[in-house]
Symmetry: C2
Subunit: 204 residues, 2 copies
């Protein structure tokens, strides 16, 4: 599905450059890509971070695996091909948000390194910052939390190909940020993200 088919198209330069946009809106766009096991706390941290940023007047928007599947990606299932296409589309949309000046937060398991690397490359080709945030929560902790009861179903064989049980999670090798929700509170994890964004000049 990722074959390039489009023809008769030309790259359309907008009348306003990214620099002009970001300057006029006093913002710096970037994507923070949260990755980790189901139950690791990706959405909890990303959601709290989003709230913190928005309340500071920062345009931040969260793309969530569960939410986006009801809309943009509702025609994708859970085959290997569809999972890759799922992540690719989200990477492209995150890039658009970041280009628009948003601090875009994505929270998906996104278990495969190659899929995440593709999203990183999409951003870098466009000169947009991509911050991989590894939510590094041990499997036993995630399984203990099991907020949606999915681990239980996976262990019972009711769900096949579940990440961490019978499908691999490929941990990032060089994530920009590692967050340990088993050891730190949500607020502390949010603070770590904010500190990183400030250190990088994305937040002033």
């Amino acid at each position: 599905m990722t074959q390039t088919k489009s023809t008769n198209i030309t790259w359309h330069e907008g009348d306003i450059s990214r620099d002009e946009r970001w300057k006029a809106l006093n913002c710096t766009g970037a994507t923070m890509w949260f990755t980790g096991l189901s139950g690791s706390g990706k959405s909890t941290v990303a959601s709290a971070l989003e709230q913190t940023l928005v309340n500071r007047g920062i345009n931040s928007y969260r793309l969530d695996g569960d939410n986006i599947r009801h809309g943009l990606n509702k025609n994708l299932g859970f085959s290997a091909e569809d999972r890759t296409e799922n992540i690719r589309r989200i990477g492209e949309v995150a890039k658009l948000f970041a280009d628009a000046g948003s601090v875009c937060l994505t929270s998906f398991i996104s278990p495969y390194r190659s899929d995440r690397d593709l999203c990183r490359a999409l951003h870098h080709e466009s000169g947009i910052r991509f911050i991989e945030v590894f939510v590094d929560t041990p499997l036993d902790v995630c399984e203990e939390r099991d907020p949606k009861g999915l681990y239980k179903k996976a262990r019972a064989g009711e769900i096949k190909g579940f990440t961490g049980i019978d499908d691999p999670y490929e941990a990032p090798h060089n994530a920009e940020l590692v967050i340990r929700t088993a050891e730190r509170s949500v607020d502390e994890c949010v603070e770590d993200c904010i500190s990183y964004l400030e250190a990088q000049g994305i937040l002033s």
Copy 2:
């Protein structure tokens, strides 16, 4: 491709509501959907409008048919099915931008009423405003302009299924706004859009 395949998903409520977000960011999100023939002036007007809005400090972002095909929709061609999927995906992304508080501008030929109506419905189901802007430029004017030389190729039979030549353009019946670039300058067209947004309370 629009069949719903997703299973084992739950709707994930963010910690911040749309109202809270828009209030904190002092914005009102909406989608302005520009539709019209190739060469009608959609992208020219949308681009000038985007610039005007951003320079006023309004977070506005343009999704452009030509641009998005290099990214999100690069795996789609020009078959009837792919054209419909192209518009559907853009409608979903526009909805996300509007939800985030942006005045999202889309400029696509989007020739079929059913495709545009689907995008309208997607927005309305989410309680987000969808403003269809019909860029009503006569075919002969568009063909005279022919900025990309596509009409010439279509007349020569080098492009098949070209809107307005050998594929229909279904004009909107009840567009919120009609713009006539053959009679008015780009600045005047932008003013019409701004006036509409002000009258609707989307701009203050």
